[in-house]
Subunit: 298 residues, 2 copies
């Protein structure tokens, strides 16, 4: 069977079955970060992301933006677990015919975002490769009480999203600012039940939350905030790389958040039902089941 | 300027100047692992290694061996800092036309070595790529007193190496067992001043120790253990990917090690001189300066 037939998630599922973990691992594969015991107050978060020429950026993408994106996607993963990014290592594969100046610009994109978010770039690996490839692994810290996983959504929760969705391919996917400040504000002021960053698309990532939490949910079509760059509602629901936060709060906390007029968060739906099914409700109350379609590598 | 003109180490040097680190980082880029403060007794070790089709293995290399190598090189880095590998994340880039069975065999190579060394594979990233690329990031633990860096070699130290050198390209580079057991035995029983694993080649990696320690050194030509697979002495000195341990001990500890008849370690030279120059002495006492030549990506 070819990878494109089995699919990305099919392969990952097969991988996961082969993994053995000891008791120091709080959460292994299957969330935005792995969670490892650290000290009395904190967990260690560990995540990696590979970005590849022709898939995540193009050969003529500005090199600073390539470096920037490589780091930004990992910061977004740490943020969506409620943590603070601290350390990163960067592997970089480049062709021999690549210009040293361009390589330095990739590095500049990494280092300037690292400085902005106070992340220590503590190591790396440089390799020859036919096409540009970057891999960033990042470590973060999260207070035990602030840890957010995909699996915490509860019946009756309100579903929120930050910012606006869709059309990221027009540029946002290279220039987004990871929602770290917002994530930290949320976990400090509310009991966030479940959180994920939207990388595969709203429908796909909300489906991850539903599946891991063992609950159903529905979205109010008219409440989904569409970005100006999105072509239509479908684009806002299914297209990937928005890197916005998608999270759920109890009704009480939801009311508190709405009363506080936190302008970057919008309620878009509710957790309801015991089967992990996602429904879309239009303004006249008609509902349809929507699949977890979104961006997939295979 | 092209990368192949500036060279791998030239580019890395340029990168390093741009890095800012906070006081929680004991050692950043420039050793086998980054070293980060963890708790009262231990440091956290953090390393990454990227392996690429056509450079580190071939398209028709047995897939289990590809996965195995990706993990083994990082274990070797943790070992050469004196530590114990604990957690890893794996990024895997594969073509869409790749077979799912072959992908599972790559994973099998990773997981079976992980089980052998009791390493938790806690996460990963799967991406589409034109050619096979793997990146492993690994975390390890090392007791503060057992940390080994490249920078600790001292005047009068004896230089040792484990195993035999050269000819790794014939197969060892895909099948080597990382010298973790040996490294832990060494750091527990001796005060290892400096240690590195031989990935770029004996001359290149010993030069890293000399440079970082600010000392000179010489090798006794006749003492260098040549593997059967090596074509000649030059091959044993300059070819990469032996993944043996290269380390220095005080004369007292060296005597202890020799008396203990630790059969996997051979003395091959001495630390001598204040300038980081490496000399080779032949059996009739003639010496020549040898350069830090070895495997380079650019």
């Amino acid at each position: 069977m070819l990878l494109k037939e089995l699919g990305e998630f099919g392969l990952i599922e097969r991988f996961r079955r082969a993994i053995k973990l000891d008791s120091s691992v709080v959460k292994g594969s299957g969330d935005d970060c792995a969670v490892i015991k650290w000290d009395k107050e904190n967990y260690l978060l560990f995540t990696c992301d590979m970005i590849v020429e022709g898939v995540d950026f193009l050969a003529d993408t500005r090199p600073e933006l390539i470096g920037r994106k490589a780091l930004a996607v990992s910061i977004s993963d740490i943020a969506s677990c409620g943590g603070i990014p601290r350390y990163a290592v960067v592997s970089l594969g480049l062709p021999g015919s690549f210009s040293a100046e361009k390589a330095e610009k990739i590095a500049k994109g990494i280092f300037s975002l690292a400085r902005k978010f106070e992340i220590n770039i503590v190591g790396g690996d440089l390799s020859r490769a036919e096409r540009i490839v970057l891999d960033v692994s990042m470590l973060g810290r999260v207070e035990k009480r602030n840890l957010c996983l995909r699996s915490g959504a509860k019946q009756g929760d309100i579903i929120f999203v930050t910012g606006e969705l869709g059309g990221s391919i027009a540029g946002k996917h290279l220039k987004f600012t990871p929602r770290l400040k917002e994530a930290r504000e949320l976990v400090k002021n509310f009991k966030v039940h479940a959180m994920i960053d939207i990388s595969d698309g709203l429908a796909a990532d909300l489906s991850h939350i539903l599946k891991e939490s063992g609950v159903g949910g529905f979205l109010y079509e008219e409440f989904i905030p569409q970005s100006k760059a999105s072509r239509n509602l479908k684009d806002a629901i299914y297209s990937g790389e928005d890197f916005e936060l998608l999270f759920t709060l109890s009704r009480n906390d939801a009311k508190k958040l709405l009363d506080a007029k936190v302008d970057y968060c919008k309620p878009i739906g509710e957790i309801n039902g015991k089967r992990p099914v996602l429904r879309l409700l239009d303004s006249s109350g008609r509902e349809k089941i929507i699949g977890p379609h979104g961006f997939r590598h295979f």
